[in-house]
Amino acid sequence: MPELIAFVLLLGITAYSTAGGVDFGAGIWDLLAGQSPRGKKARELIDHAMAPVWEMNNVWLVLSIVVVWTGFPLLFQTVFSALYAIYALALLGLILRGAFFAFRHVAGEPRTHRIADLVFGVSSVLTPFFFAASLGAIAAGDLRVFSPMTVAFGLVSLAATAFSGASFLVADARRYGATELVGYFQRRAVVAAVALIVVGTLALAAIASENPGLFKAMLAGKGLPFALATMVLTPVAAFLIWRGTFRWHRVLTVGAVGSMVFAWAFAQSPYLIPGRLTIDQAIAPTPTQVLLLVVTVVLVLVIVPAIGLLVYLDQRGALESPQS
């Protein structure tokens, strides 16, 4: 059962990385869009596409953190005692992003509007970078705040979120009839995919030098199927986007990013912190595990229909404003 709890945690982290990643990625493209007329148009689309989802992704984050402190209290204490600075920076991004996303809808003057855009964009970089950096410090096993691993994980996360963001924005551009932006985000998705492959390879090199055991487990052990999956899915998704075959590209993008998270987690299992803390050492007493699983099952039973309803209404256009 301890493994099941760890798996629930992994699902939470993966959901945040993929679903949250799409939103953060959109924020990164917002930052890079510039002030040209086309950039403004792109920013408008980003705003439009993101409005109803962003705050929901915090749910995955809160869920993951609750599973950590309830299910693995020792992990929580160890990680936060060492990495508080990283989490404080990630949090800062989170607050600023939320505040300035709202603010740019209120800002009247062009100048304040530009400042709001800038803060929103920069904070969209901060949060995914630092959350992933903390995973890098954990994967290294030494929990150092500044190390090749933290930087490598942070950069991979930026490339991955930029890729996810662009991939979904291609679909949004089609959906909202902004045809001239389809090509714009197609190109960006491909560039981000190439960047992701490059940074991903560099990150593997960092892992090989900092934590050879983890490297081996990723490419020859439990992480292998997922490492392979991400290596195949990323270029395939990018190729489909480039070709303009828009049927499956979003699913493949999520698959690529999700597999990456899985590859890391499976490679370091049964360790929560390689060489220091295993799942069995950190796990809470059995009754707590049972309650966590019950909550998870209820969550799935309640949330899946609820999300289904949301998607159903959204697809039917029931949540759109009538054409003006």
Binding site: V79, Y84, F103, V298
Partner: protein, 464 residues
């Protein structure tokens, strides 16, 4: 007493107090506003009153924006457990964390259904929209109950066994339902609902004072104010029961609330006043034997004093005074609120109309801010009164605090204060802007209330 503590203790306490004090202001509307909105929508549907539906729709916009702000401040709180108090969670997470696991569930439901509710106006069939909204009030209550379960656990911990500083077994039921939950839950739930009622009504009390006297204003005032007026007298009873329960559950907190120094019978009730380090109370009005009578219904009731606790196991002088004054002002404001409620209920019941005195609306306009203040004071009473414990009689705040350098926590606090001030500014600006626009709409300008709101529905295509 102050030697060998972590240097980050002071900034950590201030930071936690600051972020919690902010978050607690968002909770009443977050938990109870869906109920008021649905009540208004229900009235609109039942009476086929388009004005009531318009009010409900506008309220739902405010509800959604404020939920988004609360989601951010709440996420920050969950990280602060790790950044500021890693040793408490490390030791007790398996027992203390249970409530939050359930809170996550409630939060999820609220996030989804607030979205559906806000976007669904006029796009879903009216009855379906209303029924989907009905998920929100119970989800809010569940969320509040689970967070209170965690707080009650800190006040009356239980349901776990410790071995070598680690929790080795957990009794889920007693950890989830600590003794203090019984009174904390009802006391806080009523506080949330009546605060939301007073706050919403206060907006329309101001409108009355400015001369607006139409059906819209009357309805938007009367519905939330009636809810608050019915609950406020009940809150006096629940509050009294809560305080009385502390006599046994947390005697040091109770002694601090009543500034009782010596254990004695015929203990006076001291209203206001401050205590000094040697236990003398200055200023304040002392009513002989009243505290004993309130506790045990007889002047002979013995009440335990602060001097019977070791100095490092009870709140210090400053904390005692803070607890005492917060408690007194909270009770005082509660009584004023109950009197205002009685005035309202009397007029409505006897005259079958709303009050017409200017003074009533002046007080009603203040009741919103007053009940926010009361919530803060109640929270100060329970949290400061528990000092120096983070887990009552089990773990001291100073044993839970982070080993991070104090300078780091001070900097983080500074950044948080600045960003929270910005958020507050944006939030208020947005509300004022919405209010101004809605007023324009009432004077004949067309448009849907949600348009231009950050979390509102999107048009089907991009403009321009």
């Amino acid at each position: 007493m102050i030697d060998a503590v972590e240097p980050a203790l002071l900034p950590s306490r201030i930071q936690m107090a600051f972020t919690l004090a902010t978050h607690v202001l968002l909770v009443p509307m977050g938990v109870a506003m869906p109920f008021l909105t649905l009540l208004m929508e229900g009235i609109g549907l039942y009476r086929k009153d388009p004005v009531a539906l318009k009010i409900a729709r506008r309220w739902s916009v405010v509800m959604a924006v404020q939920f988004a702000v609360g989601a951010v401040t709440g996420t920050i709180l969950s990280f602060e457990f790790g950044i500021l108090w890693p040793r408490m969670l490390g030791r007790f997470g398996a027992a203390f964390g249970l409530g939050f696991a359930i809170e996550g569930l409630a939060f999820f439901l609220e996030a989804i259904f607030i979205g559906v509710y806000l976007y669904g106006w006029n796009r879903l069939p009216a009855r379906v929209h209303f029924l989907l909204g009905l998920v929100l009030p119970p989800a809010g209550v569940l969320g509040a109950a689970s967070v209170l379960s965690a707080n009650a656990w800190m006040n009356t911990p239980g349901g776990y066994s410790l071995q070598d500083g680690r929790v080795t077994n957990v009794d889920v039921m007693s950890a989830l339902f600590p003794r203090a939950l019984g009174y904390e839950f009802w006391h806080f739930l009523l506080a949330l609902y009546l605060t939301a009622g007073f706050v919403v009504a206060s907006v329309y009390a101001v409108a009355w004072l400015r001369g607006r006297r139409d059906h819209y204003q009357r309805l938007a005032f009367a519905v939330p104010f009636t809810v608050a007026a019915v609950l406020t007298p009940a809150q006096l009873v629940i509050g009294d029961l809560s305080a009385r329960a502390l006599v046994e559950d947390q005697p040091a907190k109770f002694a601090a609330m009543e500034v009782t120094w010596q254990t004695r019978d015929h203990n006076p009730e001291v209203i206001g006043g401050v205590i000094d380090d040697s236990g003398n109370v200055h200023l304040g009005i002392s009513i002989p034997a009243l505290d004993s009578i309130l506790v045990g219904y007889t002047p002979n009731q013995v009440v335990r004093g602060l001097s019977t606790f070791a100095a490092d196991s009870r709140p210090n002088t400053f904390e005692v005074n803070l607890t005492h004054l917060a408690f007194d002002v909270m009770v005082g404001l509660g009584i004023v609120g109950a009197a205002l409620s009685a005035w309202y209920l009397w007029v409505v019941w006897r005259r079958r109309r709303l009050p017409e005195q200017r003074w009533f609306y002046r007080l009603a306009a203040l009741a919103g801010a007053g009940s926010y203040l009361t919530v803060e004071l109640g929270w100060i009473t329970t949290e400061v009164g528990r000092q120096p414990w983070i887990v009552y009689n089990v773990m001291r705040v100073s044993d839970a605090v982070t080993t991070a350098p104090a300078a780091f926590i001070w900097s983080m606090l500074t950044v948080l204060v600045v960003t929270y001030a910005l958020i507050a500014f944006f939030f208020v600006t947005l509300l004022l802007r919405l209010s101004a626009r809605w007023r324009r709409e009432d004077l004949g300008e067309p448009g849907a209330p949600e348009v231009g709101v950050p979390y509102g529905p999107r048009p089907r295509t991009l403009e321009g």
